[in-house]
């Protein structure tokens, strides 16, 4: 058997045929091109001057890269009726409040569900899992009715408060706590007389930092990408994403600025992900669903 073993990057690798390696590389390259080239093309488009944007046949690479489109985007946003800074403020405010709320409420609930046994706990977690099984747009219409009953339509609350109770973050947090916070540690803290809340805050929370980041990013991504235009009418309360979408859909006259806008929208979440990639993967390791 030992004949079959060969080493690659200092680890034992088993049962690997060269043909298989080649096939896998080939498949990854093809799929990678399918995923990556449109993204690259979006970046290329944003750097093209006007004459290169409308050229037949179109060229993939940019010949004379320019940041004109970005400065166009900036001036378009500045000339808008509502100042550009307001859109940015709205997005940052909504994202920060929603994310913090989700983190706080979510991790508290996750701790209780993962580490305390109480009547109704399992049932509640089953409901959470069930909520992952349907897309939230099903609730869109009744959401609207509820929010208008609260008189929250056209306020920040309409986006922030529902976002605080988003369930995917709670689910990941709970699974991660279950697998990476040992019961014995909590038990000894309790024996030392720490209250349950203190045990959660001082002992458990620092141990699940990767899961925080994942929850923050999950929540950030949802809020960042949400236009949320059905609950918000006032231009002053709309988000950066909304403003950008308006520019992107502005037709040919603005296609350069539109391409620049798309790149701005895409780079922010990607940068956030890259910084936290290893922590997110660590959290996902415990994401599995039993039964």
């Amino acid at each position: 058997m030992s004949k079959k073993l060969r080493t690659r990057s200092h680890r034992v690798v088993l049962n690997r045929s060269a043909g298989g390696d080649a096939g896998i590389t080939f498949f990854l390259v093809i799929m990678g091109a399918f995923m990556f080239l449109p993204m690259l093309y979006a970046i290329m488009q944003s750097l093209k001057p006007l004459d290169e944007l409308f050229m037949f046949p179109p060229r993939f690479y940019v010949r004379n890269p320019t940041f004109e489109n970005y400065s166009d985007l900036f001036s378009l946003l500045n000339d808008a009726w509502v100042p550009f800074s307001r859109y940015i403020f709205n997005t940052v405010f909504i994202t920060a409040c929603g994310t913090m709320g989700n983190l706080l409420l979510g991790s508290m609930a996750a701790y209780a569900l993962a580490k305390m046994k109480f009547p109704g706990g399992n049932f509640f977690f089953k409901l959470i899992v069930m909520s992952l099984m349907f897309h939230s747009t099903v609730n869109q219409v009744t959401h609207f009715i509820l929010l208008s009953a609260f008189h929250w339509i056209d306020t920040y609350l309409a986006i922030i408060v529902p976002a605080m109770a988003s369930t995917l973050g709670l689910y990941l947090m709970k699974q991660f706590m279950e697998s990476s916070v040992p019961d014995t540690v909590l038990e000894s803290a309790r024996l030392d007389g720490a209250s349950e809340f203190r045990t959660f805050w001082v002992i458990a929370m620092p141990m699940v930092k990767p899961a925080w980041l994942t929850l923050i990013i999950e929540s950030f991504r949802n809020l960042w990408n949400s236009g949320a235009s059905i609950y918000i009418h006032s231009e002053q309360l709309k988000t950066f994403n909304y403003a950008i979408t308006q520019i992107v859909s502005g037709g040919i006259a603005r296609s350069g600025a539109g391409a620049a806008a798309t790149v701005v929208m895409m780079l922010v979440p990607i940068v956030v992900f890259v910084i936290n990639q290893s922590k997110i993967i660590e959290t996902m390791g415990s994401s599995g669903m039993k039964d």
């Binding site: 990854l28 037949f56 109480f118 909520s131 609730n139 709670l170």
Partner: protein, 351 residues
């Protein structure tokens, strides 16, 4: 009717009954009086005190765990208001003719009858939704699994970069609009330019305004954005598998990586497979926004009209809330049923 063997109808009925029982099982606890109770603190089983009924025991446990309820409470309240309540509200409103202005009247199953018998566009939307979900769901799931598995074979340093390349489209918001440029309706789009150059067509094709192409294009774009959380979960799941399992398997006579995948990898990461399946199914029904962004609303000849769009049409534009709720209820039922069936099937993998 066929004799002896179960007819198709019987089997469908049986399946529906089983699913029904399963759903019921989630909500209704079996009414068995336990004689022993597992003490949550020590984990040891002990008999219930004679003078205490089950209800009294639960009440005592609830009082003992006040802190737990305080911790779950805030989230649970919001969750009930914004996720559970809307579902039941939809159910209730689907039986009425509510229109946001007048008091609702009870109409029984009228809305459902109208949907199924009189609304041809709804049936078209159902067909489109099912085609969309039946293609994007399994394909994106298998794609995520295969790619994650292949990435796991790469040296660790490259892994992070490749993961990013595949994951990026799903997190970068509205970047899928670039496909509109690639398939733009004038000759500056790539697809048209290539076809024109080859002489296959004489004038540009209006890709997103042609009912022959919209569905296919939307599916491609949806797949492009589909490697999301499920994909990450697979990547992570593969990394957590103990390598000694593979080494032991090699000694036991596993010959190639496909056998390794089938006999070791998949059974070991079944929890992740389950989680990924739930997310993929949910996602495959939720691509409405992409279709609207690419083809406008409504799409040409309703060629890419999904139930999601129908819901938006009646709920968000015509304010026929009762009717829209009926649509929401049907969509909800389809999604939950799909999830339950797939979960059942997946629990058999490697067993």
């Amino acid at each position: 009717m066929s004799q002896g063997k179960h007819s198709f109808g019987d089997r469908v009925f049986g399946a529906v009954k089983r699913i029904g029982a399963k759903i019921k099982g989630v909500f209704v606890k079996k009414k068995e009086e336990p004689t022993v109770i597992i003490d949550p603190a020590t984990g040891a089983a002990r008999p219930i005190a004679r003078d205490m009924t089950r209800r009294q025991y639960i009440w005592r446990e609830m009082k003992k765990n006040k802190v737990a309820y305080m911790m779950v409470g805030p989230f649970m309240i919001l969750f009930f208001i914004f996720t559970v309540l809307p579902v039941f509200l939809s159910l209730a409103l689907s039986l009425t003719d509510f229109n946001m202005l007048q008091m609702p009247h009870f109409k029984g199953l009228d809305n459902f009858q109208r949907l199924i018998l009189d609304d041809e566009i709804f049936l078209l939307a159902c067909k489109n939704t099912l085609i969309f979900a039946a293609i994007t769901g399994p394909v994106s799931y298998l794609m995520a699994l295969l790619i994650a598995w292949f990435i796991n074979e790469l040296p660790p340093k490259i892994r992070a970069v490749v993961t990013l390349i595949f994951y990026a489209p799903s997190i970068s918001g509205s970047v899928y609009l670039i496909w509109q440029t690639l398939f733009s309706s004038d000759s500056y789009g790539w697809a048209n330019a290539i076809l024109l150059k080859m002489g296959a067509i004489s004038k540009p094709i209006l890709w997103f305004e042609n009912d022959k192409y919209v569905m296919g294009l939307c599916i491609v774009v949806a797949l492009w954005t589909s490697l999301g959380t499920a994909f990450l979960s697979f990547i992570a799941g593969l990394q957590t598998i103990d390598r000694s399992l593979y080494e032991a398997a090699a000694v036991d006579g596993i010959k190639n990586r496909w056998q390794e995948l089938w006999y070791i990898t998949l059974p070991t990461m079944r929890p992740q497979l389950m989680f990924g399946a739930v997310l993929s199914i949910t996602q495959s029904f939720g691509f409405g926004a992409i279709v609207t962004a690419l083809c406008g609303f409504p799409s040409v000849n309703y060629a890419a009209h999904t139930i999601m769009h129908h819901l938006d049409d009646y709920g968000g534009q015509r304010y026929e809330v009762g009717y829209a709720s009926a649509i929401a209820v049907i969509l909800f039922a389809i999604m939950i049923t799909c999830n339950m069936v797939i979960k059942k099937a997946l629990s058999k993998v490697g067993q």
